[in-house]
């Protein structure tokens, strides 16, 4: 109660000085910052405020004051809203400031011109008056308690409003100066009155909360600043962007995104698997799996061997086989096998989450879902210029491409040109597709063949360099040769460039995918044969071990003595298929890097050099003529990146080092390609748009992620791990580690819990539930889509009506036309009596309904308006007359005629 009294006194004290205090509290948007100034300013203000508005305003004022007096307890909210509506109603842009900003909304649309300012002040005055009167009555009235509460509520609301204003300040279309002033104002207001809020005992807590919120906001801002300053290559990308437009830059942005993702994967893999093993695991040479076998030791350090990731590389932390199957390592009792498995799965989980989240975010921003046909010219007119372009050559190309696209649309508009020889074209398209299918099949077979051959080679030692690297070379060559081949074949089809690009992308995608999967299947063959081989070796090595001990005990004749352990280099090992798979992937990645970089060096850089310098002594103009400079191949590069990532995802489980290699690759690629594109490439002649392509890339990435998830999960779930290498050796299945952890490390009841959870009786209902959920969500989204389409149709209808009403009184709506045509004896009927007055009338009303569809985001309510409005014009328009003659022609006609 004490606190309450205090507070009351405080408010009263503020109210007591009379207008001054009330004014200060009521000050909403006054451009003056200090209270004292405020008071001094008041007298001249009425003069400044436009006289013409005054009268009208006064009325409103009185009204509001009356309201206040009659319903004191009501918070200011309603009042204010009312004022806001009154203000906002006069401008159609008023909806920008709908509701929450109250009076401000009305002002917002004025965009800071002088009338707006005057209005501001007027408004201020009103507010003050209001406040003043209320606070006056406040101090005079008996029930101070409830009054101060009402006051409090109003104040609270105002503070909230100010806060909201501060938060949304940057979205307001005002001049900066005005924004700054308003902001300062609002902040001061909040500073001043926020502390006065809060009641009774909660007061301190409230003040504390306010302080913490402030600190939190400050922290957030600093953190945001920090975050943006951490984004690398902003300048570089900007440079590329201004030279080549947004489409090329979108590749680099994608590359940067990819780098960020890989950095996280790298952090997981190295932080939780590689570094613990290096620091806490057994050192090199301590056990067989960590030692190079004796027959290989002579060549283990040769450069060529190391480049094939054999020798020391093969028995290093880079690959699966090196890891020990000890349950815990080091002092920290780090459970390495478990961590290995979880990181492998976690990498996939993280990537999936990130890709899907990014896609959702992009889709959100995309927004535009208009039909192509609706605004062809308008969109071309207002959105075709890429404001990012800052390079003269690109700008020239852009001008040219815009002109062409306009001309194309004009031609399309003027006549739908007819195909003179559709049969030939069809034949050519079929032929082209046939050829491409053939080459796809051929490349698949070639890879299968090569992998098979490499398995044969694996048993031989006298291999040339080519034979050793045949697979990688062939795959890279295919990736190099096929896309241009496809492009050449696609010339036959004569599609529109945008469609052609899509086909091209699809085909390259199919090629890469086919190659990858052929490679995988061949690899699985190899793995299976290795698994069989392994069984023999396992028995063999056990037998040899026994023999070794037997020999030892026989030689020393001392059965008690423990024999010295066998030298790890001499132990016979299995083929360790996991490491073999890992090596394949690493080799593939490395050769891919080499080929990409060499292609850039030769295909772009050397070409550019030749064109540039040989041009002085050549018989034709090299720059403009045949070789000219290269263009940056966006689609090829993006697909290359996506497939490289797929390889990383697949290989990372068997070769933890692969992620590290990939991070290095992306890092160097960023600098190298940025340099190459700036130094050697020319802007595209047809600058095509990068619209929505971002999500297109992401979609590809998601598909590849899913496809690379399959084989890895298959191997984890179904293949037995090697018996003598890797973190899962000695177990039947890789995921047994989890079972082991549950059994040994978690309390017993958890084990039983898990066994219940793994019970089919529980899993099947869970799966069913999920299926149902999917079905339900699907149905819901379908329904939304339907209603969306319906609304779109209605908007279209309304638009058509609108248009035709202004063009002529005739309806363009086909149904209505048909109806009119069905009228009996049209010739008898005098021409429809004066629609003009009637038709003219609805226009002003219709306007507001028309303005709204633009803000489609505002949802259903607005569109309902449209739906309601659309039948209206019909009722008044010419159509309304359609049914009348049928119902009762003579009298019905007669009445209006008279």
């Amino acid at each position: 109660m004490d606190d309450g009294d205090n507070k009351k006194k405080k408010t009263n004290g503020r109210g007591a000085p009379g207008k001054g205090g009330g004014r200060a509290r009521g000050r909403r948007t006054s451009p003056v910052s200090e209270d004292e100034d405020d008071e001094e300013d008041t007298p001249p203000r009425p003069r400044r405020a436009g006289e013409r508005r005054r009268a009208a305003r006064k009325e409103g004022d009185e009204d509001e004051d009356d309201n206040k007096a009659s319903k004191k307890k009501r918070g200011g909210a309603a009042n204010r809203r009312r004022g806001g509506d009154g203000e906002g109603g006069d401008g159609k842009k008023g909806r920008k400031g709908r509701g929450k900003k109250g009076g401000k909304g009305g002002k917002g649309e004025e965009k800071g011109d002088s009338t707006g300012k005057e209005k501001d002040k007027d408004e201020d005055k009103d507010k003050k008056k209001k406040k003043g009167s209320s606070s006056d009555s406040n101090s005079g009235s008996e029930e101070e308690d409830s009054m101060s509460e009402g006051e409090m509520a109003r104040l609270m609301e105002e503070v909230e409003e100010k806060k909201k204003l501060i938060a949304t300040m940057r979205n307001k279309p005002w001049r900066m100066k005005r924004r700054l002033v308003l902001l300062k104002d609002a902040q001061q207001f909040v500073d001043k009155f926020e502390g006065a809020l809060g009641k009774g005992k909660g007061r301190k807590w409230f003040a504390y909360k306010v302080m913490m919120t402030k600190k939190w906001i400050k922290f957030q801002r600093d953190f945001d600043n920090f975050k943006t300053s951490c984004i690398p290559w902003e300048r570089k990308i900007k440079e590329v962007e201004s030279h080549f437009g947004s489409s090329v830059a979108s590749y680099f942005i994608f590359l940067r995104w990819m780098y960020g993702m890989n950095l996280v994967l790298f952090g997981f893999t190295f932080g939780l698997v590689v570094i613990p093993e290096v620091l806490m695991g057994l050192p090199y040479g301590s056990i067989p799996r960590k030692t190079v076998p004796r027959p290989e030791q002579d060549t283990a350090q040769d450069y060529s061997v190391l480049m094939d990731f054999n020798g020391y590389c093969k028995y290093s932390v880079l690959f699966y086989g090196y890891y020990n199957d000890q349950r815990t390592i080091g002092l920290l009792k780090f459970r390495l096998p478990l961590s290995y498995l979880l990181v492998g799965i976690g990498n996939f989980g993280y990537s999936l989450m990130l890709v899907i989240r990014t896609m959702a975010k992009n889709a959100d921003v995309g927004g535009g879902d208009g039909d192509e046909s609706e605004f062809t010219f308008a969109w071309k007119m207002f959105t075709s210029w890429d404001y990012l372009i800052g390079n003269a050559e690109t700008a020239d190309n852009k001008y040219a491409s815009i002109t062409t696209s306009f001309k194309e649309s004009i031609v399309d508009e003027q006549e739908n040109q007819k195909d003179e020889n559709i049969h030939l074209r069809r034949f050519l398209r079929v032929l082209a597709n046939f050829m491409i299918t053939c080459s796809l099949g051929g490349s698949g077979y070639l890879i299968y063949f090569v992998v098979k051959r490499s398995q044969e080679f694996a048993n031989r030692d006298d291999l040339s360099w080519y034979e050793k690297n045949e697979l990688e070379i062939i795959m890279s060559l295919l990736g190099l040769v096929c896309p241009p081949l496809f492009e050449t074949i696609a010339e036959l089809e004569d599609y529109h460039p945008r469609i052609a690009l899509k086909w091209q992308l699809g085909r390259i995608f199919a090629l890469f995918l086919g190659n990858l999967y052929t490679f995988l299947f061949a690899l699985f063959d190899e793995v299976n044969s290795k698994l069989e081989e392994e069984q023999d070796i396992k028995n063999n090595s056990i037998w040899i071990m026994k023999e070794y001990y037997a020999n030892f005990s026989r030689l020393t004749n001392d059965t008690e003595a423990t024999p010295p352990p066998m030298n790890p280099a001499d132990v016979i090992r299995g083929p360790c298929w996991e490491t073999a798979v890992g090596i394949e992937f690493v080799k593939l990645t490395v050769s891919d890097i080499q080929v990409t970089y060499l292609t850039i060096l030769i295909g772009d850089f050397a070409r550019a050099m030749i064109v540039r310098f040989l041009n002085y002594c050549w018989c034709w103009d090299l720059e403009a003529g045949f070789p000219s400079y290269g263009e940056f191949d966006i689609s090829g590069n993006v697909l290359g990146l996506v497939f490289n990532q797929g390889m990383i995802w697949m290989g990372a489980f068997y070769a933890p080092g692969l992620v590290g290699i990939n991070v290095l690759r992306l890092l160097s690629s960023m600098y190298y390609q940025c340099w190459a594109v700036m130094a050697t490439n020319v802007p595209h002649e047809r600058v095509f748009k990068a619209s929505k392509s971002n999500n297109f890339y992401m979609g590809l990435l998601l598909l590849v992620l899913f496809l690379s998830l399959l084989p890895v999960v298959y191997t984890i779930m179904s293949l037995p791990p090697s018996f003598d290498c890797g973190p899962f050796s000695g177990r039947l299945k890789m995921f047994d580690v989890i079972m082991e952890t549950i059994d040994l490390d978690l309390p017993a009841f958890m084990g039983t819990l898990f066994s219940y959870a793994a019970n089919p009786g529980l899993i099947i209902p869970a799966v069913l539930l999920m299926v149902l959920a999917i079905y339900y969500l699907n149905a819901v989204s379908e329904a939304y889509k339907n209603s969306n389409n319906e609304l779109k149709k209605k908007m279209q209808l309304a638009r058509d009506e609108e248009k035709n009403r202004r063009n002529n009184t005739d309806s363009t709506n086909q149904v209505m036309k048909d109806l009119e045509d069905l009228l009996p004896n049209r010739s008898f009927i005098p021409p429809p009596p004066p629609p003009p007055p009637k038709a003219e009338k609805p226009q002003p009303e219709a306007k507001p309904t028309k303005t709204k569809p633009g803000s489609a985001a505002k949802g259903v309510k607005v569109q309902k308006d449209v739906a309601l409005a659309s039948p209206n014009p019909n009722a008044r328009g010419p159509v309304s007359q359609a049914p009348t003659p049928r119902a009762g022609p003579r009298p019905g006609r007669g009445a209006p005629a008279n």
Partner: protein, 187 residues
Amino acid sequence: MGNKQTIFTDEQLDAYQDCTFFTRKEILRLHGRYHELAPHLVPMDYTNEPDCKVPLSLIVNMPELKENPFRNRIVESFSEGGDGNLSFNEFVDMFSVLSEMAPRELKAIYAFKIYDFNVDNFLCKEDLEKTLNRLTKEELTPEEVELVCDKTIEEADLDGDNKLSFADFENMISRAPDFLSTFHIRI
């Protein structure tokens, strides 16, 4: 650090961050760019909010704007007087609206102002012709220009006054797939 203090006070920076889509560093960089434009006009010390403006001719020569066919219009629509001379506030405002973070609604308002050549709050045929000629470097024949402008108005005009009001424009632009990706300038 000392460098920062001499240009803006912390309050100023905070206020700018509240009013724009920029971070502290970007605002300082913007000031750098602004200063670069006219080193003799623009002071390095902005703590007492000096009143100075950089003329249009200098601003449109920024590499970010140099190639833009609408550069004069952009600068003009962000200047308070409409004459294209920008104070630092307006300069920041311009790049804030054109930044990647600005919402579609805000961008639409300013895009409308940019394309409204004769500043009558409507895009009439005259405006469209100017827009088109700048976009195509006047390579279309007058008939083609006529056709395109008519078509544009026909497509986007909802209320039948043969010119595009902001509502028409917003309705059209809010569904354009490329508007957000092309209507921004990275600074």
